[in-house]
């Protein structure tokens, strides 16, 4: 559906994105994850044909974003960063304009607007002026205008930014409902969001893609060691010494309430550790392997890059 082939973008002398390539398949949600200023919005603006790349190219459903810009634009629904809207207009007239501008047939405009108003939960506000509405509603209006011509591709730039937790939940739910056979690219710097919503995640930093994979694969691939957390009732120092001497343990260190043991990825030392502690007569309260979250991976990748 979307093929990004080695796009590079310079703003004057400043390199914004550096030969990024990736693909989005039909029905897939791709998350674009990265710190602010990593080049997420620039990439999205290039995909939506708002601006051309300095080099490389993007094809959306086979159409080049530079040569067939209009064809690309017909097939993309775009929610730009900061969700710009014509705030002096009423919700309904704005959506009517969006439908009209996106070549929805005259006689279908009313029905189309009704559909997106229903999908995005805008019933109560359809006759209100956008400027008077809350951020949550505005975000839904932004989504509604993106959806209005039922595009096969959706590009959403930070769809949940600045919303309260309940609104974030609602918007996420909405995006999930929308996915179906559509391809969606969404950017975010909120990690749980990406891991919950997306089939695949592209981690970007400083204009480069550092990793693209499913959240679970990323977690599996990028952990080169396993961390086991051990909680004991008493004699913590003694336990620490005990574990340090254990065969296979890379390191063991004491935290406030527990001991963290680092072991190689392909070894599961949990039974050995449990046995050792119990044999020594120390009360073992809890012992578990710590799952490395996307957050840890992200931090690791981003900081690795900086070193």
């Amino acid at each position: 559906m979307i093929t990004v082939e080695g796009i590079t973008k310079y703003y004057g002398p400043k390199l914004a994105i550096d030969s990024i390539s990736f693909e989005v398949r039909q029905g897939e949600i791709l998350g674009f994850l990265g710190p602010n200023g990593a080049g997420k919005s620039t990439t999205m603006r290039i995909i939506t044909a708002f601006m051309p790349p300095t080099s490389g190219r993007v094809r959306v459903m086979g159409y080049d974003t530079v040569d067939d810009s209009l064809e690309v634009r017909k097939r993309i629904g775009y929610l730009p960063e900061n969700n710009p809207l014509y705030t002096e207009m009423k919700v309904e007239s704005f959506l009517r304009f969006a439908a009209f501008a996106k070549n929805v047939k005259r006689k279908n405009i009313r029905a189309t607007v009704d559909t997106v108003v229903g999908e995005c939960g805008l019933h109560d506000v359809r006759r209100r002026i956008i400027a008077q509405l809350s951020k949550g509603y505005r975000q839904r209006i932004g989504l509604a205008q993106a959806l209005i011509n039922d595009p096969p591709v959706l590009v959403l730039d930070e769809p949940t930014i600045g919303l309260d937790p309940r609104q974030i939940y609602e918007i996420r739910q909405l995006i999930k409902d929308l996915s179906g056979s559509r391809s969606i690219i969404l950017s975010s710097h909120i990690l749980p969001e990406v891991s919950q919503l997306c089939d695949r995640v592209a981690i970007v930093n400083k204009g480069k893609i550092i990793a693209v994979d499913s959240p679970s694969n990323l977690t599996a691939q990028l952990t080169d060691h396993r961390i086991i957390e051990v909680y004991v009732g008493e004699r913590m120092d003694e336990t620490l010494e005990l574990l340090k001497d254990l065969e296979g343990v890379v390191s063991a260190s004491r935290f406030n309430s527990h001991i963290q043991v680092e072991t190689p990825k392909d070894m599961d030392l949990r039974p050995v550790i449990a046995k050792k502690i119990v044999e020594a007569g120390i009360p073992l309260m809890e012992l578990h392997a710590k799952e490395m979250s996307l957050e840890d991976i992200f931090m690791e990748l981003v900081t690795e890059e900086e070193v």
Partner: protein, 253 residues
């Protein structure tokens, strides 16, 4: 194009700028009209008093000064009407919507320009109250009135093209309005410099470039194809330049 036109018209009618501008335009014009009319009635009573044989020309005393005042007022008002057309979209970021919707840049421009033209048409249309008011007292030379309106409309269309161009250049509406005012004044004043080079061919070129020079014949009731073509080409030139500026966003980054 029609979608953008409809949107612009809707925003014009919901924003206070249009109402403020037309209120002031009509008030000031009303005052001028009142002045000219009282002057005229004063002259008329003098003529009656001294039983002079000269006839009074309504056209010369009321209409021509009124239309030429109108052209000056338009000079200030059209930049204000035009300033929001692109600058506002740039400042609010909505330009990103407009440029990712499947509408060609030229259609967006045409929609916006025609919306501005319609607003000018409405403004000029409202001044017909004065013409009708006058028509109840005397019969004006309707040919002169029509040709003057045509001239004013054309000159305002040229102002608007300059205003659109300036609006493409900046995201700040005030800078857009001021710079279009500057460009308009420059094209107004350019004719004066023809005196400096009098006799040479530069004088002729400069004289022809002046924006207001081409209005004179219209206000005298003469329709010159040359003048009309000048205004059309002038507008097209600035619209073309606007399109170039808009396209530059694709390579300037």
């Amino acid at each position: 194009m029609r979608s953008v036109y409809a949107k612009e018209m809707l925003i014009y009618f919901t924003s206070p700028i249009f109402y403020a501008v037309s209120f002031i335009f009509l008030c000031v014009l009303g005052i001028f009209f009142y002045n000219d009319m009282t002057y005229m009635s004063m002259l008329a009573s003098r003529i009656a008093q001294y039983q002079l044989s000269t006839g009074l020309s309504l056209d010369k005393i009321v209409l021509r000064p009124l239309f030429s005042d109108m052209s000056i007022l338009l000079l200030f008002i059209v930049p204000i009407i035009a300033m929001r057309l692109y600058s506002e979209e740039k400042a609010n970021g909505t330009i990103e919507l407009l440029f990712t919707y499947p509408i060609r840049d030229v259609d967006v421009l045409a929609g916006k320009y025609l919306a501005g033209i319609s607003i000018i048409g409405i403004l000029l249309g409202m001044t017909w109250v004065l013409m009708l008011l006058e028509g109840t007292v005397v019969t004006p030379d309707w040919g002169l009135v029509l040709s003057s309106y045509l001239g004013l409309f054309l000159v305002a269309a040229s102002f608007l093209a300059i205003g659109v161009f300036a609006s493409c250049l900046t995201r700040n509406q005030i800078i857009a309005a001021t710079s279009s005012l500057g460009i308009i004044l420059a094209f107004w004043a350019i004719g004066w410099f023809s005196d400096v080079f009098s006799g040479s061919s530069i004088a002729k070129v400069l004289g022809e470039l002046g924006l207001m020079e081409h209005l004179d014949d219209f206000l005298k009731g003469m329709l010159n194809v040359k003048d009309a073509v000048f205004y059309l080409l002038f507008s097209l030139f600035f619209l073309f330049m606007s399109l170039r500026v808009l396209e530059s966003h694709t390579w300037r980054g």
